[in-house]
């Protein structure tokens, strides 16, 4: 009994000591910039986000982190956390990533956006990831001036609404779909193609644009249909398509479906048909999971060659920190790092140190700074934001799998 009491007292003491620990450290003193922060904030369209000493500068992220698409959200968070670490300290303040689960749905998107809007220290949102959630979240950020920079929301309509705060780095489905159709018709000489998609905003839009372009070029669209995403066996649909003996099979969708399709094609009478994927199917994950079946398949990425020292450094950091290779969970690993870093860079550009030791971040200026991004070299590409918020207006690079590696073909 007595020993237990002593143990409890000792435990409490340890708790007390550990609680006292951090408070003993003195915050680094940064000289105020001398800018009149009151005038700055009053002049700004949305006012300022004020970060008091001891608080962090928060970057939000809304993504599915539970349910069938959880891998996308977890991946984006893991990437974003590395970006925040790499950013380090800024004028004595730390950046912090707040990743919330929006389930990828409109309801979830609105709920997360409202939560972020209620937190005065959230200055930017590296998201949302899914187009559906983004549509619902956008008007809430628009109202209070939180800039968005999505790593993956590609639905064309998102940048057609005249939004001031929404920006994205993936190239649009229109640019990619048209380029893929032209490449298949002109360069590869395909005349009969079956177009498949996963039935979701991204994949469906992409496949429909590619099919329409291919038809206008004079090709024959033997099928344009949706799959149930996430299934483990597509051989029935492939067997049916085999009756039309197409030259190639185009997929608008992600690695998951791409891998299953590529593997199933070998046992469904489509063993000599070319699989043509998109940026959603590009990644080492595709290579390791298709093996020999993946040889001769085509994929797409943004224009810039993807191998740079910065990317290698990130890949190493990601692998050590999370114990899995980047790109394994989702194809947007690098985009998520870039969007988080870009937001941090823009915050650093517009933030002003006030005379009271707080950091003042004019929201309107930040929104404009993100939209004004030009020639930013990230690890996933080079970005310049167009006035509507599309930061990647170049067409894609196509890749073929040869000998277990991606080889650029254009």
């Amino acid at each position: 009994m007595k020993t237990r009491r002593i143990l409890i007292v000792a435990f409490l003491l340890v708790l007390l000591l550990s609680a006292c620990g951090p408070a003993a450290e003195e915050p680094a003193v940064v000289e105020p910039s001398g800018v009149d922060t009151t005038a700055l904030c009053e002049g700004d369209d949305f006012g300022c986000a004020v970060i008091a000493p001891g608080q962090t500068i928060k970057i939000g992220m809304g993504s599915p982190m539970t349910g069938g698409n959880a891998a996308f959200g977890i991946d984006a968070e893991q990437s974003g956390l590395i970006a925040v670490e790499d950013a380090g300290e800024f004028m004595g303040f730390q950046f912090e990533l707040i990743a919330e689960d929006d389930g990828g749905t409109p309801e979830g998107g609105a709920a997360v956006a409202n939560k972020f809007a209620a937190d005065p220290t959230i200055v930017g949102v590296a998201g949302h990831l899914f187009s559906g959630a983004t549509f619902a979240a956008l008007p809430i950020y628009e109202e209070i001036g939180i800039p968005m920079l999505s790593p993956s929301a590609t639905n064309p309509d998102l940048t057609r609404q005249g939004s001031r705060v929404f920006n994205r780095v993936p190239f649009t489905d229109e640019a990619q779909g048209a380029a893929a159709a032209e490449y298949m018709y002109n360069e590869l000489g395909f005349r009969k193609i079956a177009f498949l998609h996963d039935g979701q905003d991204y994949g469906k839009g992409l496949a429909e644009i590619a099919a329409a372009t291919f038809e206008s070029l004079g090709g024959e669209v033997v099928a344009l249909m949706g799959l149930t995403p996430g299934e483990a066996d597509y051989s029935p649909v492939l067997s049916t398509i085999a009756a039309d003996s197409p030259d190639a099979l185009y997929l608008g969708g992600y690695t998951q479906e791409g891998v299953v399709l590529t593997n199933n094609m070998k046992t469904s009478g489509l063993e000599d048909v070319v699989f043509f994927g998109c940026d959603g199917t590009f990644g080492v994950d595709f290579l390791s999971r298709t093996g020999a079946n993946g040889e001769g398949t085509y994929h797409a990425t943004p224009r810039t060659p993807p191998e740079t020292p910065e990317k290698d450094a990130f890949d190493a950091a990601y692998t050590t920190r999370w114990g899995q290779a980047p790109g394994e969970l989702s194809p947007f690993t690098w985009n998520s790092y870039d969007t988080t870093t870009m937001l941090i860079k823009m915050v650093q550009e517009v933030a002003v140190m006030g005379s009271d030791g707080s950091l003042y971040i004019p929201r309107g200026a930040l929104v404009d700074a993100v939209r004004g991004l030009a020639n930013y070299v990230g690890i996933s590409g080079t970005y310049t934001c167009a006035p509507v918020g599309d930061c990647n207006i170049e067409g894609p690079t196509f890749w073929i799998v040869e000998g277990g590696e991606f080889v650029a073909v254009n």
């Binding site: 949706g226 483990a232 066996d233 049916t240 085999a242 009478g269 394994e328």
Partner: protein
Amino acid sequence: MESKTKSPPKLTRRNYSKIIRPIFGILVLGYILWRLYEVLIVQQAYSIEIWLRLLIAGLIIGGVYALIAIGYTLVYGILFMINFAHGEVMMIGTFAGYFLFEVTKGINVASAGNPPLSFSDAYPLISVILAFIVGMTVAAAAGFFLEKIAYRPLRKAPRLIPLISAIGASFFLQNAAQLLFSPQVRDYTNPAAIARGSGWTLIINDSRVVITYTGVLTFVLSILLMIGLYLMVQKTKLGKAMRAVASDKNTAALMGIDVDAIVSRTFIISGALAGAAGVMWGLHNGLVHFFVGFLPGIKAFTAAVLGGIGNIPGAMLGGMFLGLVESLGPTALGISYQLKDVIAFVIMIVILIFRPSGILGEVLSEEKV
């Protein structure tokens, strides 16, 4: 339940639906027959090898559905509750098999040839048997504890309460697996002898039809397990006790049957079957992730209802039927493949209109309900 007052028949809403339902059923049936006629007789767009491939795919997935559906039916037969966490039990079995193959892949065995072989490549039969044993044991244990923790305390509660508990258990197991194994999609490492996609090749109309080894394994094993289960329920003492508990719990207890033990064993058996289905799923389809049990679980539940829930041959028939409809349906009806679930469910509704208790379902006595 219906009230038993004998009021004179009035034209109530219920009477309308009594007329409307069969009319709807006949309309849909007519549409299906018309589409079948269009595609099979008029268009004749698909040749025999395509139908053969679809049939193979349907039988394989049907076998998996049937095994899982038996688990729903067994539990329903005894406790009158839907064990919605059953799909997650299958997921646990899939993971157990996955880790066994990872381990056997890692062990190197000296071989006569130059490169040392891994254990699973050198002894494919043993490692596959091991995987099934491990998968079934782990899933059976999961089923056992699931009942002990989530359902037993609620045995006397109203029937909706264990249902909610089942849904909660399903979420819990899913998220636990997500946190334990990360949400990434992993690949089953099959022994080289039964690599996915390898199999016997038939040449029909100059086109290859592959009968995969994993597919044959899945189909044959699921049939064997079903026969074994049927014999066990019909011929053994345990089976007799299970049937006694299913028909009347209280009387069975009075006859000296330990109801709790029988319920536990039922969960163990249904868990083991789900585990076997999970390993088959992994071997044939190659994917394992925390969400892998969700869709097969829902589909198998549908299959169990279709066959007549509570009826074991019904679950087998329902599973096979659902697998075949999913695979053949969109092509045979000439409807987009994206709508295959819609087709399967519409056919289910039509069957339930004409046979409300399922294909082989018994009419439950009021007392039992």
